[in-house]
Amino acid sequence: MFPMLTLLSMFYYICLRRRCRSGSRSEALGSRRAVELAQRSSGPVGGIGGSGSGGELEQYAKEVLDFSSHYGSENSMSYTMWNLAGAPNVYPSSGDFTQTAVFRTYGHWWEQCPSARAPYRRTPRSFHSTDFLELAFEEPVYPTAVEVLETYHPGAVVQILACSLNPFTQNPPTDVRWEVLWSGEPSKAPTPHSRQFSPTIRHLSFPTNLLRVEVNSGLLEYYTELDAIILRGVRERPMLALYKMPLIDMNDLSDGEDDAVAIGNQRFPPAGDDKHNNTGNGYFDKLPYELIQLIVSHLTLPDLCRLAQSCKLLQQHCCDPLQYQQLSLQPYWAALTDASLAHLQPRCALLQRLNASWTGNRGAVTSNGFCSFLKVCGAGLVSLELSCCHFLCEASMEVIAQTCPGLQELNLASCDRLQPQAFSHVSKLTSLRRLVLYRTKVEQTALLSILTFCTELQHLNLGSCVRIQDYDVVASMLAVRCRRLRSLDLWRCGSLTERGLGELALGCGRLEELDLGWCSTLQSSSGCFQHLARCLPRLRKLFLTANRSVCDQDLDQMAACCPKLQHVDILGTRMVSPSSLKKLLQSCPELKLVDVSFCSQIDTRVVQELTSLFPNVAIKKSFTQ
């Protein structure tokens, strides 16, 4: 009786203390944190297992709502993200199958290319995600388990989140919350074979039918492939088990990642008491200004904002615009709102590089909010990452074009809801050096106009731009106007022929990186690849993925003329023999990646032999069974 009372009183005392602490920090959160912590500390829920009050519900995904990239074509069902909906097609088999969902990249290869963007400082160590996908399920449940069926090279999942919004409701509520169900490090499974990945997920205080899975395939040997995602949960909210010993995690008592949400609700601290500070800070304020700036420059953004609240000196340092020359908001996509941007505005006068990719999820950031931020802070902007920013519209593109005339890098990857008219404003950014239009709806006239005016372009990504009818015209324009081009991504650009490629090779002699994957209209018999190799001696990356006509003569010409080659992909050709591949490996000492998957003459024995002869080269051979 008495031990029970003491236990209960301990439990309530700690809960009340937490309620006090959380109340003074951020009213906007309400009592959510307290409720959540109370629930968490109650320990694992009992009674689940089919015979619970609501019974356990197992659901496959109903619809794939959004994603950052995929390997397949738009409107196809091969290697595209839409394969994640419904029951699995391949699992438990392993292999490289068309019925799975595959992302566009894997490993670190793309980060080594000339077209890679420089990393942002202040990226939190816990943020690893490079790609994401969002799935809707039929019925909202309180999740008990999330199972990811990975059928090839598993290990990429780094974060699973759940949203409080039901994507199928007619009247969406204004407050939308994303909670992390599980997060981890990028990993690599011991074998490339299929597995069911079912991490231990946190308890959720609201029912959900919208999940987000973030991945990082940096450690993997080849493309990871996902077959299906299963959501297990209960309809009724799990009961708190009071008789269980409350499990109090030490981490709960300190401020966790939840405080990232508080970025938007910073209040400036009351005036400090100088006399009080002088005795206790160990002469910290005697340090030179630049040194404190250097120390503070190592903090992540939320810590920087929190530090600003501690005293006047540190507030001065933390709000110094020099600290905000590079701003990466991508890790905080779930918490960023218009109000957050408005609060950061006064500090960002010297902003040069801004990464707002993935933000604006479900209306948290609006076009107006972003535009007003840009109008204040965008004058000196040099690099702007806006991948998957669905709040963008024509008006925002116009504002970008007007306020950032010196913009050199613009990333609009997967902004597939952006109207084609919006791209006409990009041609006003005449200093552009890097432009990513992967999976956008840009049309031919707008693109030609961009190429006419943006003559400084060095890196251009037109992958999966399906609205462009004639790539030969685009290639001719590039050859004439963009002669400084160093990298060009024409992944799945269906209408490019040897005519356009020939002009491109003659005009853009500085090309180092060229991705012509799945451009099926190019025929090797026309000599276009040999001509390409002769014209581009600086070539470091050449992808001829799934071009079935690549043959020995092409490889021989590449071996002879392109000694700097590092990444080569000749997936799916039947006409390349082991001897010419060996010649290529011998002639190009800098080769690091060669993908010979589905090349019928290059079998695993040849791959093994070549790998032992050339240990520095990763020779990739995919399999289907």
Binding site: Y79, N89, S524, S525
Partner: protein, 297 residues
């Protein structure tokens, strides 16, 4: 008095007749398949619905029932390509398209076009060619939409008579229209028809209609009257009797194919074209037999 009764009966019949015209029930197809591969010595255990170089599929979606057959062109074997791979993958892809709802019931040619496009999206280089025949029943509108490319085809039998049939599409003797993917070095020399070249047709069907979809292995060995004879034996609309009838049709065609003295439709056609031959035509036989019935879940 009598005239009133007879007049009333007439009116009643007319009214009831008029009402029964608008049948708001959903229809569906009850389908069974059977077949024989040409070379039964092969013994390779293929995934179901593949008979030799032929392949077929039966699928359903919310609004439609879809069937298809494909006849892989055997000539590829001489070049080291397995002809059953192309037809099998084509049918598997059509099945997947239907199950995921990526089709319009009134446009079966679209199924072929999309499926052919998907074949080209496969990383593995697929080679080969095949004919194709797709039959779609729109459950609500009671219309049958078909697409046929090549010499496979279908028959619709109502009341013991053929009311619809498909036409064979041939370039020349024994060379039907075909979907194909050729190796790049031989792209000009290989016959490759576009999916748009398929013949399409749409017509209404009634409950009790029998639809026989098959590859040329059946039609080249069994003339219509024999097929109709076998179909007369079909009494019920349950799956077992349809399966039994499909089996007997396929078996009979298989026996006739190896009969050297029988004047098969194929031999008849050859003779008409100046080739003096007799006997059946050994070929892969695939038979899909369906009956239009009321939709039950």
């Amino acid at each position: 008095m009598f005239s009133v009764i007879s007049y009333g009966r007439l009116v009643a019949r007319a009214v009831i007749g008029g009402l029964s015209q608008t049948d708001s029930r959903d229809y569906s197809l009850v389908t069974a398949s059977f077949g024989f591969g040409k070379d039964f010595r092969k013994g390779i255990l293929k995934k179901g619905m593949c008979y030799g170089d032929d392949a077929c599929f039966i699928a359903r979606h919310k609004s439609a029932d879809v069937l298809g057959v494909a006849d892989g062109v055997g000539g590829w074997r001489d070049y080291g390509v397995d002809p059953s791979q192309f037809s099998g993958t084509l049918m598997r892809t059509c099945e997947r398209l239907v199950k995921e709802g990526r089709f319009i019931p009134s446009n079966p040619v679209g199924i072929l076009t999309t499926s052919y496009y998907e074949l080209l999206q496969n990383k593995a280089p697929l080679l080969g060619s095949s004919t194709a025949c797709i039959v779609v029943l729109d459950r609500q509108s009671h219309r049958l939409h078909t697409a046929n490319l090549g010499d496979s085809g279908f028959l619709v039998v109502r009341g013991g008579e053929v009311v619809h049939r498909s036409d064979e599409q041939q370039h020349y003797f024994n060379t039907p229209f075909q979907l194909s993917i050729a190796p790049p070095e031989a792209a000009g020399a290989v016959l490759s028809d576009s999916p748009d070249a398929a013949d399409s047709s749409s017509f209404d069907v009634q409950i009790g209609d029998i639809i026989l979809t098959a590859t040329d292995g059946l039609f080249d060995n069994m003339p219509d009257y024999m097929i109709l004879q076998e179909l007369k034996k079909l009494k019920n609309t349950n799956y077992e009797s349809i399966q039994q009838t499909a089996k007997s049709i396929a078996e009979q065609a298989h026996v006739l194919a190896y009969d050297p003295n029988y004047m098969s439709p194929f031999a008849q056609f050859a003779c008409d074209n100046g080739l003096n031959v007799r006997g059946g035509k050994p070929d892969d036989i695939t038979v899909l037999l369906s009956i239009v019935a009321e939709y039950t879940d």
